[in-house]
Symmetry: C2
Amino acid sequence: MSKNTHISQLITRLARLSASETWGGDLNPAQVSALSYLSRANRFSRSPSHVAEYLGTTRGTMSQTLKSLVGKGYVAEVSSETDRRSISYDLTPEGVRLAARRGVLDDAVGSVPERERAILHGALSDALRSLVAKNGGRSFGICSTCRHHQRKGRTPYCGLLDLVLKPEEALQICREQTS
Amino acid sequence: MSKNTHISQLITRLARLSASETWGGDLNPAQVSALSYLSRANRFSRSPSHVAEYLGTTRGTMSQTLKSLVGKGYVAEVSSETDRRSISYDLTPEGVRLAARRGVLDDAVGSVPERERAILHGALSDALRSLVAKNGGRSFGICSTCRHHQRKGRTPYCGLLDLVLKPEEALQICREQTS
DNA sequence: TTGCAATAGTTTCGACTCGCTACTATTTTT
DNA sequence: AAAAATAGTAGCGAGTCGAAACTATTGCAA
């Protein structure tokens, strides 16, 4: 029984215990995860495929989850102008409000001493990168940490998509992010 | 969007991504969690109630999960001598073998630099303790870290149950553990 | 350009999870 | 001895999930 196993079990147990939280009463864990991701993803990364890949599920399953979030009024479908197959799911004001809620797991993490929290974040990021790499997926990192991230004067700029970005977008999750 | 939220999302995402692992082909995530717990719990902590409390689910749900593990040959029912309502689920040799398997999440944790791993473990333990405390539950800690843990010469001894323990039991999970 | 392959999303089906409630059996309390 | 508490199980219904089939759109290549 290795130390690594203990840590894995801590991670899955934390996730499992916090999964019983219903978030305002009408959201299940899958929906919470999806909503939470959407609240942090940039405008190029909010399709069913992207959320599915991020959370390690299938497009079909995620399609159901997102439709149910639409029904509850937390997200809205926005069809793409450039690719008519593609849909972006954007948060409604209610969705934004709900996503800003602190969950029990957030509070629990808050009880970790300040100094250790940065290390915790880094260590979990390392583990995630390794896990994702083995499965051949993308890590979906923060835009500003990307090798394509540049600046034109004061405004951020994406060298991959050749696009000027809004300042807040540099801090969002992007599916194309590469270290 | 606080740093705590980022960390929570890392935790749930790691758990979710690793949940798709089937562990030899015929175990689902709930069963993996239960088996994994049983492999680390001492003989006083292996009943359906205990596993349910540890994993934050109900007795009814856990009863099903454990029955299905029995059907697959990984655990066996052992009825208690002292309390005829009570059942302990012990691992079969196949169960032991399967529980010893390293999962993708274990490997991912292994990629975290050695120095940070101890801090990761401590930080996650802190978070878990805080989460459990808020829900009024038990943390199910390691026997040897318990306030009732004593030694009679060389052998460990439990002051709460007034029992001599086998050496390996001191390192197992106990539902009565109190810091 | 036309046809074929790839991609995005949805739908449907079956297996399964999960919480809830009701129930039996046993133990503990009063 | 009766009542209350506890351990475990069974069955129901809502919902998750993955797989496969399907539609629509886009990309590619002959």
